[in-house]
Symmetry: D2
Subunit: 400 residues, 4 copies
């Protein structure tokens, strides 16, 4: 593997640095909604292609913008004044032409798919009235489609892009991620129906002390009175402290909805639907979590949005997953403190042959045996690349 | 400064790592166009606010989506079949209501501003016909506006966000950036009118060798024949090699438009307008360059889009600039190999009082004198925060 | 009543002319859908105004465009490929500002209202997926709103407009109207579930012979096979002939779906949803039936679209109803063969004081007693004008 | 000609009735703008089809909606706050597919065409900033296109529709029409630059007295002061009275901008661009003038919008012109007081063979010689039908 570089250049892992900062935009956040819209659309269209042509045709649906609505949310009462507007943008082969004698039902796929998962993810959102889902999906550009279509056995990379992974997660990374997951867990919601889905967690570790700042949309119609709002906030705080106690030994503080102005109900974080998209916030694809569900400025990150890209040839999507898998396997098998993996494609070259693969280790042996095992791990992942799309269709990988 | 952390945790700078990867999406790239649209809109509206109210009111215009058009570009001939569609999304105080007895001319500001700079930046784009500029700008959400309005002297942070800077740039960072700037220089265009504005540069350094991959849109109507296309590519390559020779001692290779299929004119990178937005590509705000004009996965990066955010209280914008300035001053004054700066705000707290400031040094003295100077540098930048907006309005900072 | 003109200028009624032509665009026709969307929206917003302010505020929602979708309809199978797009356009006081401390939920009113009646009127249309309902409703223009607001007791006409009515309906007018109503009757649908809602009837009488041409959308998923399609057509024909026998003594022919090409299934009139809006046809407000449910080129007609106009001061709406009522009362009470009524407003004058009222009689006495009774009838209707809005809110008048 | 009916059923012409009402929506009125947008688009696409395929392919572009903008117009100063939004809707063969190896540049045709004539017709409108021109043009429905395509020599009617003409114009019809034309004449504008293009004229004749009500948008930036506004109104009135004196012997009154409230500048009819579309009014295709440029409720009228329909097979367009020509020739040649002509097509039948042709005369001989000449005139027009499209492409016929 001549393009493989195994490096030991860095010798400190994030968890040993004095400061770490980690963020997660949870289910319900406008950027998360855009990411999911893009990815679910790619899955739906991929399945349609397979069913109707036997393989996944070229598409890239990795752009979307959500323009927030206007709502009137008060304790115990809420109304959507103007709906959320979600515009999905991209390219797909078969738009406005027949494929194997069949029309690609692009509108149906976009709207049905999007509304179905929205209904499930945001149960307080009325999908018939509270959101307008629109789309501008055109047929692909000639050259990029050409590139895709020439792929016979092993797909060719559709761009010069970079995929990045790292492992293991630090404690604060785990805590930030799990806090949102726990607060959006059905069991939590059942006990605290006023907790909305739009939950953003920002974790800051300064030496041994972790501060978690949580923005948690409350559902106004599930609240009886103002006290109920504040008691729910306390519950969010308390649940998070319990979780933190299992993960982190040091000090932890948890702040919830810091912008609240007690005594001024207009300044509480109230929503009708559980998402700030109804009023305050707009969103886009690729502006939130990276492919491990986190934003980690102290870590290597790519700006490629995985969500919505075609799962065959768009290495901006597939290489992120492959890189993460390489790291996870290395951490599982070999005794290393931290590993980063960088995969760089070259447009038009086989996706199994990156122009560069870097595995950057902290800790771990420099012996040739270790090196050989790393080579094998990388090679295995590369061998699996042509089949990696199956995992996207099964939603096996976290993407946002 | 109790929130200041000066760390020496990392001891290798990117330039000493075996691999570096750097990317720049140039003027004319769909993501760049979205970034610029957002930022120019923020500048225009800020100026209107100042003129009509004496200060900058709350706004966030940091979302946009560009749906690429369809074009028919061939050597010597080109036609836009369907226009580019650019939708600007955001919030601004005064939309649909009077401010000081005057209506905010939101539509005029959006469309006039956008079309004016597009005309200048993309001279082959016919702004009356080739692009539809639309917008969905609503009045801001009550709570965030409230937060903004309560600011009296020192603005309060409108979010818990992180800003990041680093210095100095490595050689490949400089080279990647300057390559695009040089190719988009008026002098270059004058000699090579077929070079379009949509230029993406991807730099990969492996030890001593740098590979630059350039995607350069060509303007079909400026090309006489196919040979002209290929000779222009050679010129791009040759100009880049000349530039590289001034910056980098080691080996350099330059590849231009790698996806071209010689002999197949349909697979050349031809455009009518100089941007791939006319046909192949869609775009969004915040998906391209960070606030130093580069995408640098080996460096700390924030995912905040600086472009379009309000320049007073949105620390996702202002802290990136402040952090970069801290780093540049430290590098200028003190003998350090590399410095990263992280600034973390807390929603509702004064922007001059971050919850954490980390200055991470590689090299440099650990003496208390140095530490004091760093403290002073940081303090100076914090003191300047309330006035930092002036620099945005003057376009003094690179933002994308 | 100095503005009243009672004329006897014409002495032939349409039924005695050699030719009559009458058309009705039925429930489900794209133009009908637009008319209904506009009017239902006006009703919803009027009710909101009354509930929240005690009176109906200024609005005009009498513009809409429906861009047809794309569908794949075959015998026994159907799929919407691209949804119908319906854009509602107009003006309403209170958009983007508070009224009596409450926000007008314009988006909710538009979308909820529209989807609710669509669901009922087009049971095969999936309102969550098959149609995008969008709107551009702005606050009204200063001057016209001014005009509206100054109205204290008796509203002032908001435009110089004309309203027209006539009575009685001729036989072919009755037949054309009732044919569509009968085919869209739930009882008919129950027996013939394949009959869609988009039914257009064109009646042509030449002397004693009436030809009815019916375009009747069939619902593909309710059809077992091609024979079923043709037997349903025969049923439509047969039902219409039965109805005609009750109304018309002379000859009648009925043609259904004339454009069908037997043997070519692609040329049958098949739909998934019951409306041609899904594929072939676009629509607008005011392009279909007049305020008696018919298009009658041999009759006086106004081009004002009644649907969607505000029911207080827009005489283009209210005068049509008043004129029809005048005619109906005259026909009921006095022995006349035919009567037309024209009412002309003047912008800014009281709606109870038209600038001209013409009652044109065919047959009927020219005695002063008759004249006095006509004056009384007209005066009564004028007296009722300030309250006519109640009838619109109760859907008491046919409008399209 | 067995389908020809020559009738003498009515014996009074409109000019002898006690009342006539006539309206014209002039150049600049939102409905007029929509009509013109639709028709100019049909011309542009027809020309493209001819150039690229040798014949006009199927299209119907007869729907559009204009959502008015928001403006701030004051004496001497004006600003567009939010642009006009114009959405063109329709069907055209070749959208998103190649025709003879060439792409139909649908977007270019729509936007370039529309902006070009707007620039000319509304010189105070900035076409780059003050209006957003958007479109939803899809490929046609299978069945209707099929119908169109099967036409070989003589096109088949694409619908069962009716076309109507009449002649001669009465005095008030001439006066209403010419008033608008005179006020929009370049010579008038040169002397009175403040007269805008959006001029609506409503004429009411009561016996011997004609009242003209004119709504005339004034251009605010061409006005020096309020007196200038009122003096321009007086000029409009005076010019109209001069014109009326040439056409009408009886009394004439002229009212201009009746809704003005003297002393309240906010209630004057001021515009930045010359059209009320900038602020007060929305528009649609087919809601204004009929194919002789007038709205005449006392005359037979069709509701078909001629503008935008395909000029080959859409009889809703072509039959109106043919019917008017029949009437004009009869009036020219034969001594009749008034003639109406009705042409009714049948879907799928040759356009040269209407299912009914009625020529309704008032006055004129009932001799067989006259009857034969009328038959000849009708036959000539029918013979010319297959070529009538040329006149649409040359803009030879008034359509709105």
């Amino acid at each position: 593997m001549e393009n493989l570089v195994i490096s030991h250049g860095r010798d400190v892992v994030p968890s040993k640095l004095p400061v770490e900062i980690v963020e997660r935009k949870g289910q319900g956040h406008p950027d998360y909604l855009c990411d999911k819209a893009a990815e679910e659309m790619s899955i739906a269209i991929s399945k349609w292609y397979i069913e109707n042509t036997g393989r996944i045709l070229h598409h890239n649906l990795d752009k979307a913008v959500l323009a927030g609505g206007q709502s009137d949310a008060r304790i115990g009462y809420g109304e959507i004044l103007e709906p959320i507007y979600l515009l999905l943008v991209g390219r797909a082969v078969g738009v406005n032409s027949k494929i194997n004698g069949k029309f690609l039902p692009i509108g149906k796929l976009v709207i049905e798919t999007t509304k179905n998962w929205l209904q499930e993810d945001l149960p307080h959102l009325n999908i018939a009235h509270d959101i307008i889902v629109d789309y501008k999906v055109r047929s692909g550009s000639t050259d990029l489609v050409g590139n895709f279509e020439e792929s016979t056995e092993i797909p060719l990379a559709n761009d010069t892009s970079i995929g990045i992974g790292y492992a293991p997660l630090t404690k604060i990374e785990q805590l930030t991620y799990q806090t949102e997951r726990m607060l959006n867990d059905p069991a939590t919601k059942k006990k605290n129906p006023a907790i909305g889905e739009d939950i953003k967690v920002m974790g800051v570790r300064h030496k041994n002390k972790i501060d978690l700042t949580i923005a948690c949309a409350m559902i106004c119609t599930e609240l009886v009175d103002v006290d109920h709002y504040f008691s729910t906030k306390e519950e969010v705080q308390s649940l998070t402290l319990d979780l933190a106690a299992k993960i982190w030994d040091g000090d932890v503080t948890v702040d919830v909805n810091v912008a609240d102005v007690p005594g001024n109900d207009d300044c509480l974080y109230l929503t009708v639907t559980g998402t700030s998209a109804e009023q305050g916030d707009d969103g886009q694809v690729g502006r939130g979590n990276r492919t491990n569900g986190l934003i980690t400025p102290y870590r290597p990150m790519t700006l490629e949005a995985a969500a919505g890209k075609n799962p065959i040839s768009h290495v901006g999507k597939t290489y992120n997953i492959a890189a993460k898998k390489v790291c996870e396997e290395i951490v599982n098998e070999l005794s290393v403190e931290n590993v980063d993996c960088y995969l760089v494609s070259k447009i038009g070259k086989k996706i199994t042959e990156p122009q560069i693969i870097e595995v950057a280790l902290v800790g771990g042996s420099k012996e040739s045996k270790t090196k050989r095992r790393i080579e094998e791990i990388v090679q295995e992942q590369m061998n699996k690349m042509p089949d990696i799309w199956r995992g996207f269709l099964n939603r096996s990988y976290e993407l946002y």
